[in-house]
């Protein structure tokens, strides 16, 4: 104790054993109940203005901060939510995800919630990190991003248990029972492929991302297929190749495509990162973008417009996605009471890589 007496005020404030509500109550001359009511803004308890003011003043003087563990033990809720990603690498390989995370975090701030990051890469059939978070009552709810088929079972379990949860990603039929926030990326792929069709392309290749085991990956591939079919063009399996998430995987996937010797005049990349990889692979075999191959990506990541050439892509709005997902979760949690806005539709951003005269 005397240890700290010599130190500077900031240190003392932080190091001193934190004040408890009992101390605040004693100093203010009231009971702990009153302190609790005042600090939690419980109305209709008939607390006088004078008492309220005094409690607040004393709490401030003492630098009182309620102990989170005690609070959640007593109240049953933690004020914490988790954002679950399939694999941590996705956080840096996919700028969309990173933006989403940032947005969710900002929204949490506004709602007074804390955000835990959890990845599901080490999960198996038996145990799953995010399920444990729920069962140990570390979190009140969660946002699952871009689920993999393997997660379905666990998610269904949580859904059946009425755990507040938002799943981001379309095309997860097994999850109809709970709240899925997903744009139909299948139909929005139409923006990209349709643009290429409008430019007169017929041989349009697709380099997918994330593989078919991720719902989002499977969906986007279907978007490519359907748009072509609807235009009376049979999607050709030899114009289809899959990468994972990284630019490098897009590079290799495009190389495999090229190695087949198939002819195509346009390429739709499952996302912008894949597109960056594709650009290099195309250029390395002497193909010019867009003169020889028109290229369109998806997501409009911050670097998309700084590609060479700048990338035509479908602008999704990760910030809005994060906000909507978080506000929806907050609604399910009964927190904040903010209305959940509607997600704006993605739109095509035409830049030079697709060779359209509309490029800006």
């Amino acid at each position: 104790m005397s240890d700290f007496d010599q130190e500077d005020p900031a240190a003392r404030a932080a190091s001193r054993r934190p004040a408890t509500s009992t101390q605040v109550a004693r100093a203010a001359g009231v009971s702990r109940t009153t302190v609790s009511f005042v600090l939690n803004n419980v109305l209709d308890k008939g607390i006088s203005e004078a008492t309220r003011a005094k409690v607040l003043r004393v709490a401030k003087e003492l630098g009182y901060q309620p102990n989170a563990a005690a609070q959640s033990l007593a109240s049953g809720s933690t004020g914490t939510v988790a954002m679950v990603v399939p694999r941590t690498e996705h956080l840096y390989d996919d700028q969309f995800l990173a933006q989403l995370l940032a947005s969710v975090n900002d929204e949490c701030h506004g709602l007074g919630l804390k955000l835990l990051i959890e990845s599901a890469q080490h999960d198996d059939e038996q145990a799953s990190g995010f399920v444990t978070l729920v069962r140990t009552r570390r979190i009140d709810g969660l946002i699952m991003v871009n689920p993999h088929r393997a997660h379905i079972g666990h998610l269904q379990g949580l859904a059946a248990a009425r755990i507040p949860m938002v799943v981001l990603g379309s095309g997860v039929p097994e999850l109809d029972t709970f709240h899925t926030l997903g744009q139909d990326t299948r139909s929005f792929s139409r923006l990209a492929v349709g643009h290429l069709l409008d430019l007169g392309h017929r041989d349009i290749a697709y380099v997918g991302f994330a593989g078919r085991d991720y719902f989002a990956g499977a969906e986007r591939e279907l978007g490519w297929r359907n748009t072509l079919s609807d235009a009376g063009i049979t999607p050709r399996e030899d114009l289809l190749e899959f990468g994972e998430i990284t630019a490098r995987s897009g590079y290799h996937a495009t190389q495999r495509l090229l190695a087949r010797g198939v002819r195509f005049t346009a390429l739709f990349a499952g996302n912008d990162t894949i597109a960056f990889g594709a650009m290099r692979a195309l250029r390395e075999v002497g193909l010019r973008i867009p003169e020889d191959v028109a290229l369109v990506g998806y997501d409009d990541i911050p670097l998309a417009e700084f590609g060479t050439p700048p990338l035509t892509t479908v602008h999704t709005d990760p910030i809005a996605h994060g906000r909507v997902a978080m506000l929806e979760l907050a609604r399910l949690l009964g927190v904040g009471g903010k209305p959940v806005p509607v997600l704006p539709d993605p739109r095509l951003v035409v830049r030079a890589s697709s060779g359209s005269r509309l490029a800006n």
Copy 2:
């Protein structure tokens, strides 16, 4: 209650009120104390093998998971740490940070710790989110990344209070008192600028990142200055410009540089993202890379090698940074007992953008 009786097992397991240690104790025919000792692997308590086995079996059968709040209230520690970033946008504008986050998260997994994300953008002199996390005892320790000058006061307070903390970023003199994990990026900038000098360049511009109010930004600028000075070249203020974090800011900063009409044959970008912006600005005024301007970045983000041309850059190792920072924090927390590895030195990765014949 009967609500759930009809549902599938997974749902029932999750929805049923979680088993408490009391129930486990009762079912196993022992006291809660024994349950606690067995589950926490407390040795030297003379628990018989039979008892131990039985408790473990019963706990498993009941799907027992200790309540985290109760655990931390009783034990005084939370098993949670925070990673603090100055602003959430940095998470997507700076792939280095995203990689760092992923790595820290992975390391947490291995240590059985949970990771909270916190940003400091809404903080002011009085209140700071990450200080509140500590004072409400939500976290046991934290990793601060790339601190801004404004955070120094709060960090010092925590340091004086002996809060386990690792600050990532070099050149934070005020923080000598506590654990700073930082490579001297000042000296490693030498790799980049030295490379350009070796190639015969004398008029080497610098487009900084993050501004001087971030220690990392100030440091890297000094690296540019010092390397030039040591080579007998006076760093010219008119060849210096600052961006923030984004490619766009690098683009604009480079435009400002060009608008001055100054002549330079090489450009060192404070980080790779800035370099992407610079590439576009240079190209827009008809300058070729590397023929007219040699370009070198910093960080070697995943997209660096997919630039056009591929970017020569200084490869730092965010994954290693994350691991070291987290293991150091774990050491301070007395968790895990894993040795803290040494951070490997950054190295120059020569690609086409600098115009060296050594490019691969």
